[in-house]
Amino acid sequence: MRKVSFPKMGPSYIAFKMMLEEFGHEPIEPPVPSKRTLSYGTTHSPEFACLPFKVLTGTYLEVLEKGADMLVSSGGVGPCRAGYYGKMHEKILNDLGYNPELVIFDPPLRAPWDFFKKTRKLKGKTSWYRTADILKRTWKKLIALDDLEIKASKVRPRQKNYGAASKALNKGFSYIEEARNAKEIEEARVEGLSLLENVKDNSEYEPIKVGLIGEIYVVLEPSVNADIEEMLGEMGVEVNRSIYLTSWTRDNTVADGEKDIKEAAKPYLDQLIGGHGQNSIGETVLYGEKGFDGVVHLAPFTCIPEIVSKSIMPKVSKDYDIPVLTLFLDEQTGKAGIKTRIEAFVDLMRKKRRKEVG
């Protein structure tokens, strides 16, 4: 039995925990990134590494202290730095005297054999038949988690009582956490959705609508983006998040898959630049076309693809007459600072809408 851990990314740990348990490992739950995580992370990461890298360094050190001996994460194939994180983390951890086994999954289509080998390592003695079932259920859980979050973003701005939607959401998460087999997971999903459905609302209220875009880690992990989704929701704004872990199988995201996004970006950025850079441009175009009131663009400080996209953004914003707020986040970014900027931005969108209506 191995003690296995992984980075925290929104509520996804609920699904990964089950997966590891069923493979016969002892999962070490990653802590919610805290001040401590960040201070570990910044001390032991290169100064100009981006925030997700530092958070991961910190997380790894914390779970290693808790006894983890195997770390699982996702890799990438460039040209953004994320793909090299794994290797770099290994070097840094070894340098600090830790020797955990790092299992970094690169996208399966680029390196199918490698993917297979790593899955085999992770599954241990579990039969392939059972492995398939476990993976299927993990996926189901991820979908259920995403579904609840999507629903919550619609309910939150319309709720009558402050905080009610988030409370229902967390309750829903706990249902999903308990569920094990496919049937239970489905029940938990439905139950969670109906909890959210039943949150008292102001049904005639028409919230302004914002698209949330940017680099995947800072978009998905609330503790590093000052809970921006909730913050916006509580201000009465409906948030449409562009990225969900399971989004490519869905049709209720902005577009019908990456292809449209890339097409939309082309006139402005005709090149894949890694990370989420080209998507950020494309998604803004699509949100503009769909008449959203604004776009909030999140990026880790020093994130190269996002710097490229930010420098092109003013043009897109003008062409589609859609305001864009870019926030570069680092370990010093405080919640208060973000809140002020978000409030000002929401004000701006409200005024703009009134002008258009009136």
Partner: protein
Amino acid sequence: MSYRVGVPRSLAYYSFFPLWNSFFEELGCEVLVSRESNKGVLDDGVKETVNDACVPIKLYHGHVKDLKHKVDYLFVPRLVSLDGKETTCPKFLGLPDMVKHSIKDLPPLIDLRLDLRKGKFELWKFFKRLGEKLGKSTWEVFKAYVKSKKIYYRHQKLLEKKASPELAWKIIKGEKSEEELNKMVAENPVKIALLGYPYTIYDPYISVDLLDKCKKMSVDVLTVENIPGKELLRQKKKLSKEMFWYYSNNTIRACLYLLEKKMVDGVIHVTAFGCGPDAMVDKFLEIECKNQGNIPFMTVAIDEHTGDAGMSTRLEAFVDMLNRKRGFK
């Protein structure tokens, strides 16, 4: 008709000017290179770019602005892959788009894509398209291509003999002789590696003349370009996974090579403040220098505010330390 083509003196220019300039000139174009970097050029660039960008990118925008009213075409190619394997940094990839959408009133850009991963003849095809844009016949283009490539290789060879890009160029032009180069290559006991990207190392303004400062301190300086390409390539197998960026990999390979051959007493890594890939490269070099013979390592991060005095002090202290280690002084 012959055109006036503007070439910004920045970024990949420092690796490829012998190739580009000769090609355009062979085709009868007038090449206008932007002036050397200085405060004005940088300030101009800073105005046009997001403040999160690295200095080299800001500087590049300044160079574009310097040329924009003076030329018929601006050469801002999209350099995707320069060795058929890795790509360049994402900012290089998006460069023409960044320039286009942030600077107003530009002359037509030549933003052709060069991606050597696409096949063996990509370089030729790139130049062929370039020639077509300038209205030249395939035959003319071919001649210019062959000739400029020759010049480029000659230039590379001279760099491997430890010439600076500038000196190598003068030798090719016949303004200096190769003997002079041999004389200039001193044999000082203390040797350091000055590692970094050519556009920071060789741009005297942005690197606050670091290269020259080193040379004046009677140390031998080796840069990435001084190491034969074949040797760099051989280092590849030492890594289980390479980085994704052309220039970064070259820097790392150069360091590994110099450490393997025990050729240097110290390593200085020059990095631009806010450079994404370098966040990784720097830590990598630091750990390698430590693990392979405890070679002293120093990082010099430069940005638009880097001062001359501070740099000199740090450099002197580093060289002093190396001297002491060697038992001098």
